[in-house]
């Protein structure tokens, strides 16, 4: 997983480089994002392009991040990855996050 803060006024960029986002990898995600988040960061852009599988534990971790950020928190996700959207669509969480075609769009949408 690669996490990068583009600058303090922009969203935190999280690129999932793992092929499988499962319950095993989720603990690391929770810890890494928590450590990387500066207190005033309320916007996260996620790019799961390389991901071939994601289960509900990773989705739960993303939702937990949104809940922690509270009102005013936003997450945008690049939506070109079908296995990932297979989890987002039936859970209706694709309506919660901004799902966009390009990483740049995800950043701009919530900047």
């Amino acid at each position: 997983m690669q996490i990068e803060t583009i600058n303090k006024d922009r969203p935190l960029m999280v690129r999932f480089n793992e092929k499988r986002l499962n319950v095993q990898a989720t603990t690391g995600f929770r810890k890494t994002v928590s450590l990387s988040l500066h207190n005033d960061i309320r916007k996260i852009a996620i790019n799961p392009t390389k991901t071939e599988f994601m289960d509900s534990s990773r989705l739960g971790a993303i939702i937990a991040r949104v809940n922690t950020m509270g009102n005013g928190g936003e997450i945008a996700i690049r939506n070109t990855n079908e296995p990932v959207m297979q989890v987002f669509k039936p859970t209706r969480t694709d309506q919660v996050f901004n799902a966009l075609d390009r990483e740049e769009d995800a950043i701009i949408a919530i900047a």
Binding site: Q24, F53, I63, N71, G73, R92
Partner: protein, 151 residues
């Protein structure tokens, strides 16, 4: 009809092994979307067994059997941990996913596994008897599958 059984111990890295094996086995007779849905369903079930049934304790048995019938695939997942509570089994997808997308504070962080299984599979059946839990998942073949099997 052909039958394949996969057996692992209750360690989370093994759910990935099961998932990869299931994907390869069912992708020959199901569409890509159906294959992802079946893989996701089995992994959610296995994760729930390891997390809730065995309370994250390693070394306990989990088996996943695939029966390729003429018109459908039957997957039987067995374990000897704590049984799935009735209220979890009976909860329908609408109850889990019926949240208001605009109410960020009301988003569910967990409890989505069984609802995802129900969404992706055609039938599910659960029996807990003499310490053995059996979750049966059924998926009927699509057009692609019926062409592959010649039915």
């Amino acid at each position: 009809m052909s039958k394949i059984t996969l057996s692992v111990e209750s360690e989370f890295e093994n759910s990935s092994l099961i998932g990869v094996a299931i994907n390869r086995l069912v992708s020959t007779v199901f569409t890509k979307q159906e294959t992802w849905g079946i893989e996701l369903s089995v992994i959610e079930a296995v994760n729930n067994i390891m997390k809730h049934g065995y309370r994250c304790q390693p070394g306990n048995p989990v088996t996943v059997s695939l029966d390729f019938h003429d018109n459908y695939l039957e997957i039987m997942i067995t374990d000897r941990g704590l049984s799935i509570p009735k209220n979890v089994l009976d909860k329908n997808s609408q109850e889990v996913f019926g949240f208001d997308p605009n109410d960020i504070n009301g988003l569910p962080e967990g409890g989505m596994g069984m609802a995802l299984i129900k969404h992706n599979m055609d039938r599910i059946d659960y029996k807990a008897d003499n310490g053995l839990n059996r979750l049966k998942l059924v998926k009927f073949y699509s057009v692609k599958a019926q062409q592959s099997t010649g039915t």
